[in-house]
């Protein structure tokens, strides 16, 4: 009897040591269910109570949550009182805003539009041309109103789905400001170089736009258009005029 128990013990310990759970689909065992699963509404869970089966409740049509009302149409919709897209950015453009915009651009936009905004993101490469994201360096988009960029982020355009639900209003304006900085960074000319800067390093025959340092967040702040300086001097040799 003892021997049997002993063998059982050794076997069970060995099993426990290796992990009893086979990697796979089985629901985790609940040894002590305790109060693990409480009958309460959790984010994005199902509910048998509401007709639409959701525990997340959408706001009733025509209502705004307390404290969320903002009557500044320019800020919230990118449009002025008469419904025209506003020309400038309603948020004061600071370095902090551009940094925020850079981070949010690289999260939300760069996969399609590329980190330089030239439309050469990973999506374009991988889709073999099935999706051709807009080139934000295009003259048309350089000259377009800030409110238009805001509106496209918010409501989408052509195949681009609306991203207003993913990106809060203030972040959208930060992205707009950063897009402007990106456009500026790719259309510099020699006059932008402060007098007395050593530009011998720049070779006019090389450094096309695609080879310009990509403005990766954080890793190389010097290459970011948000911080003017050394990086822009190397690009002055290759102004993009299309």
């Amino acid at each position: 009897m003892t021997r049997r128990i002993f063998i059982l013990l050794v076997l069970a310990s060995a099993l426990a040591g290796c992990g009893l759970r086979p990697a796979g689909n089985t629901t985790p065992l609940q040894v002590h269910p305790d109060m693990d699963s409480q009958p309460k509404f959790k984010a994005q869970s199902a509910s048998a109570f509401f007709a639409d089966g959701r525990s997340n409740r959408p706001a009733p049509l025509g209502t705004i949550a307390q404290g969320h009302l903002n009557e500044d149409d320019g800020f919230v919709m990118g449009k002025d009182a008469s419904g025209n897209l506003i020309k400038g950015n309603p948020v004061a453009v600071t370095e902090a805003l551009l940094k925020r915009g850079q981070e949010r651009f690289n999260i939300n936009c760069a996969t399609c539009h590329g980190q330089l905004g030239d439309g050469n993101g990973a999506v374009k490469t991988r889709s073999f041309g099935a999706l051709a994201p807009a080139n934000l360096q295009d003259t048309r988009l350089r000259e377009i109103a800030d409110g238009h960029i805001f509106d496209v982020i918010t409501n989408g355009i052509r195949t681009m789905q609306p991203l207003g639900g993913n990106i809060p209003v203030s972040d959208r304006w930060a992205i707009v400001a950063y897009v402007r900085a990106l456009q500026r960074s790719q259309s510099t000319n020699i006059k932008d170089v402060p007098a007395g800067t050593d530009i011998k390093a720049a070779d006019p025959s090389s450094s096309p736009v695609s080879a310009a340092p990509s403005p990766a967040v954080g890793s190389s702040p010097a290459a970011s258009p948000a911080s003017s300086g050394a990086a822009s001097t190397t690009k002055t040799a290759a102004p993009t005029k299309k």
Partner: protein
């Protein structure tokens, strides 16, 4: 006087001893198995449910380098890291692989809001634990600390125990996990050459006065 006949046969002495030893071993086995068989490492690690749509984090987050926050957009704004709506998938998939069978459920959910994709939750905490993604991510705890290298997973699997002992380990010494905020979603981040995780972690911990609850139960339990 004639010796009284014994009520119990003699071998009973041995049997009683054996039974006592057996009982002790059984009790030991119950304790040991009770401990090891119920550990999160045993029952939870390795959980890898099949999802209704075979979405590959390895492809999207790994090879294409999409930021975690493109889809899980609430992770730095709310306690809950939301699973994206079908609309987020359709940002690309209206054009790319738009007729793929694998995406049928996404298209259905996109066309009819009452039929959402029923993704299966992988990383579960008990309902009496109030974990906040926002607080962790904005303090500089990377996704990788709790979720592992999701950017290398074809099918997401739970890799960390997510048990309380495991949480407390990090709450006692957050410097082992803290990193500059801008790298929280860079899962393969390592401390720059010449520095160590502890140095960087301690600096962030001191600068931002990060003192996670250890003995304060209400920090996580309400």
């Amino acid at each position: 006087m004639k010796a009284t006949k014994l009520i119990f046969p003699k071998w009973i002495n041995t049997a009683v001893r054996l039974a006592l030893v057996g009982a002790a071993l059984t009790a030991g086995a119950v304790v040991v198995l009770g401990k090891f068989l119920t550990m999160p490492e045993t029952v939870d690690v390795g959980y890898q449910p099949t999802q209704p749509v075979p979405y590959s984090h390895k492809l999207h987050a790994g090879e294409m380098g999409m930021d975690c926050r493109f889809c899980h957009s609430t992770v730095d704004k709310a306690d809950f890291a939301a699973v994206p709506p079908a609309q987020t998938c359709m940002v690309c998939h209206t054009a790319i692989k738009k007729d793929s069978d694998k995406l049928a459920l996404i298209r259905q959910a996109f066309a009819d809001a009452s039929k959402p994709v029923e993704w299966v939750k992988v990383h579960k905490l008990p309902d009496f634990v109030y974990f906040s993604h926002k607080v962790h991510v904005n303090s500089g705890v990377s996704c990788v600390s709790c979720h592992g290298r999701v950017d290398q997973m074809e099918v997401v699997q739970q890799q960390k125990p997510l048990g309380m002992a495991w949480c407390i380990e990090c709450h006692k010494a957050p410097e082992n996990a803290l990193r500059p905020k801008e790298f929280v979603t860079k899962l393969d981040w390592t401390p720059p050459p010449g520095t160590t995780q502890q140095e960087i972690g301690l600096k962030i911990k001191n600068e931002n006065k990060i003192h996670p609850p250890v003995e304060n139960c209400a920090g996580c339990h309400r």
